[in-house]
């Protein structure tokens, strides 16, 4: 299998399938942007892409390297402002957002700020950027990240961006918009959703050749498992051809 596609290609192809046609998505650079562009070129030609710095619905000639570079508003419908983009998310106009992050816990909370003491951190990460804003305001949060015990932890030491926080009802209690929250997490091993009642992370499909034990080994907490665990359909030839030929010909992302 490994010869047919690499794990980054797998993650991008699988993630792209969750973006519905005719919906709106706020994305960052890297894999999330690649997944959104791939969706546009396959099943979701009318997917509307927003970038936090102001770009709306660009016709991207190539992968942007920054969410504020000129590719993010090339032949766009509008080149606006951060204030306008975030306000649009706040009004409920943006259906999906696509995030990464250093660490994630069972409620889908993300840490991209620090590891160790905040005032003298062992590791300082960039912080929220626009991630907390998108995770608060967009309807459905998608996350792409590689699996690993140090990344998938019981409770993140610092909640940079909100998942379901401490569990059911916690987002609403905190003042976040009702009906919003983490939706799917796509890793190099599996796709996880969230259990309806408990809001805990739940394995929904295993990538080809991956066992549930393997996923559990790479996860730092007790994973719920869907009654209907499936095998993730592998990337199709068409997906791979478009991803390699049109979305990321320079292999900026899939070459990593």
């Amino acid at each position: 299998m490994g010869q047919l596609y690499n794990l980054m290609e797998l993650m991008i192809c699988v993630a792209s399938r969750y973006l519905e046609d005719g919906k709106t998505a706020a994305v960052g650079t890297g894999a999330p942007c690649a997944a959104a562009m791939l969706a546009q070129k396959t099943h979701a030609p009318n997917l509307v892409i927003f970038f936090e710095a102001g770009g709306i619905a660009p016709i991207m000639p190539e992968m942007p390297i920054s969410v504020g570079d000129s590719r993010t508003f090339f032949r766009a419908v509008m080149a606006g402002s951060m204030s306008d983009i975030m306000a649009t998310c706040s009004r409920g106009f943006v259906d999906y957002t696509f995030l990464g992050g250093a660490q994630i816990d069972k409620y889908g909370n993300i840490n991209s700020t620090v590891i160790g003491d905040y005032y003298k951190p062992t590791v300082r990460f960039p912080g929220s950027g626009g991630a907390n804003d998108f995770a608060s305001l967009c309807w459905r949060i998608l996350i792409i990240t590689v699996h690993g015990k140090s990344r998938f932890v019981e409770k993140v030491p610092f909640i940079t961006s909100p998942g379901y926080l401490s569990g059911p009802g916690a987002r609403e209690a905190a003042g976040l918009p009702p009906g919003s929250g983490p939706y799917k997490i796509v890793t190099d091993l599996a796709v996880m959703g969230f259990e309806e009642k408990t809001k805990e992370m739940m394995v929904e499909s295993l990538h080809p050749g991956v066992t549930l034990d393997k996923v559990r080994q790479e996860t730092g907490f007790e994973l719920a498992v869907s009654k209907f665990v499936q095998t993730t359909p592998p990337p199709t030839e068409q997906e791979l051809r478009i991803l390699r030929g049109e979305v990321d010909p320079l292999r900026m992302i899939i070459g990593r």
Binding site: G28, T29, G30, E52, A53, G54, G55, P61, I65, S66, V67, G68, D69, S70, T72, F73, F74, A79, G80, S81, M82, S83, M86, S90, N109, T113, Y118, Y119, K120, P121, T122, V123, R124, F125, P126, G127, S128, G129, G130, A131, N132, D133, S136, L137, F158, I159, T160, S161, P162, L165, A170, R171, A173, A174, G175, L176, P177, M252, I253
Partner: protein, 327 residues
């Protein structure tokens, strides 16, 4: 106003709009020729210890020439608005220019990776930080631009980003729902790179404005670097395009290729090779020191920096990259 919850970290600036009003009342409204050099602008408007903000978006439409000059002037103990900052933050860390920062996005260069030196600085514990988000900082600037002491948003809620911020959770007087109140911030000075400006400081920006509309209005002093100067008639012919009116502006500096090594929309793309070189050289502090001497401290002007980076040939190449010819 009943506060339900609040962050523990300090505000670095006074959120009182009446103190800002007093300053702005005294600011000149005269339409005078504000052209000067980077040196003069830094000398006059960017003293040690002041609170600085940079326009654009990290490595897109940034005023590189003035940031280099801040390093050469050895500015210290500044405050910084870490809003969508990437290469600008990397530069100021290289100069160890600040000791406090409002954080939304720092130490990273987006898809390019993380800055080893910026991480060393932020992990040293020598820089005081208060945590926010990109929208929270935009909202703080927006509130300042509106002349009020706070703004209302729905982000940060429920997270440690809130706990480590200086914001407060309040109850809406109309709906009883919880909202995030963020304090207005009037930076001492901001530096913004634009496409066109006249000698008075009326500015055009092509493409996304990011948060520069709010930033220019919130800042007590505004320094403009511009790809090109235009006659005032070009401004008055199409006043719809003016994003920053002259009375906000204190200095105008014409700097062609002024956003290099960053991207300038419709003009030239970012120099990814040079930005990659930064990340590589930063790994070893000694190597990095020599690198800084070669490209910044040992250089007398931005023009000379451009020369060292490949001069006009490189600029032509970046213009081609930006123009997307053949596409």
């Amino acid at each position: 106003m009943k506060v339900l919850e609040q962050g523990v970290n300090p505000l670095f600036m006074d959120p009182d709009p009446d103190n800002a009003r007093e300053f702005f009342q005294k600011k000149s409204r005269a339409m005078t020729d504000k052209r000067m050099t980077e040196k003069e602008a830094v000398e006059r408007f960017i003293p040690d210890g002041c609170y600085l903000a940079i326009g654009g978006f990290g490595a897109n439409r940034i005023p590189t020439a003035v940031i280099h000059e801040i390093l050469r002037a050895r500015r210290k103990n500044m405050g910084f608005l870490g809003h969508t900052s990437t290469h600008d933050f990397q530069l100021l860390c290289a100069g160890r220019c600040f000791d406090r920062v409002d954080v939304a996005y720092i130490v990273g260069l987006e898809a390019r990776g993380l800055s080893p030196n910026a991480r060393r600085v932020m992990q040293s514990g020598e820089v005081q930080a208060t945590e926010w988000t990109n929208y929270a900082l935009t909202a703080r600037l927006r509130a300042a631009a509106e002349g009020v002491s706070f703004g209302i948003i729905r982000t940060m809620l429920g997270t440690d980003t809130l706990k480590m911020s200086g914001g407060k959770v309040v109850e809406c007087p109309f709906t009883g729902k919880k909202f995030m109140a963020v304090p207005a911030i009037w930076p001492d000075v901001s530096v913004i790179h634009v496409h066109e400006a006249d000698i008075y400081g009326n500015c055009h920006i092509r493409g996304i404005s990011v948060a520069d509309l709010e930033l220019a209005r919130a800042s007590k002093r505004v320094i403009i670097t511009t790809e090109r100067l235009v006659g005032s008639h070009a401004i008055r012919l199409n006043p719809t395009r003016t994003l920053i009116p002259y009375f906000l502006v204190d200095a105008v500096i014409e700097v062609p290729f002024g956003s290099y090594p960053g991207n300038m929309p419709y003009e030239y793309f970012s120099d990814e090779e040079h930005l990659a070189l930064w990340l590589q050289k930063e790994k070893d502090p000694d190597v990095f020191e020599k690198f800084l001497d070669e490209y910044i401290y040992g250089v007398s002007s931005f023009e000379q920096y451009i020369e060292r980076c490949g001069g006009i040939a490189k600029m032509k190449e970046l213009r081609r990259r930006e123009a997307l010819v053949d596409r």
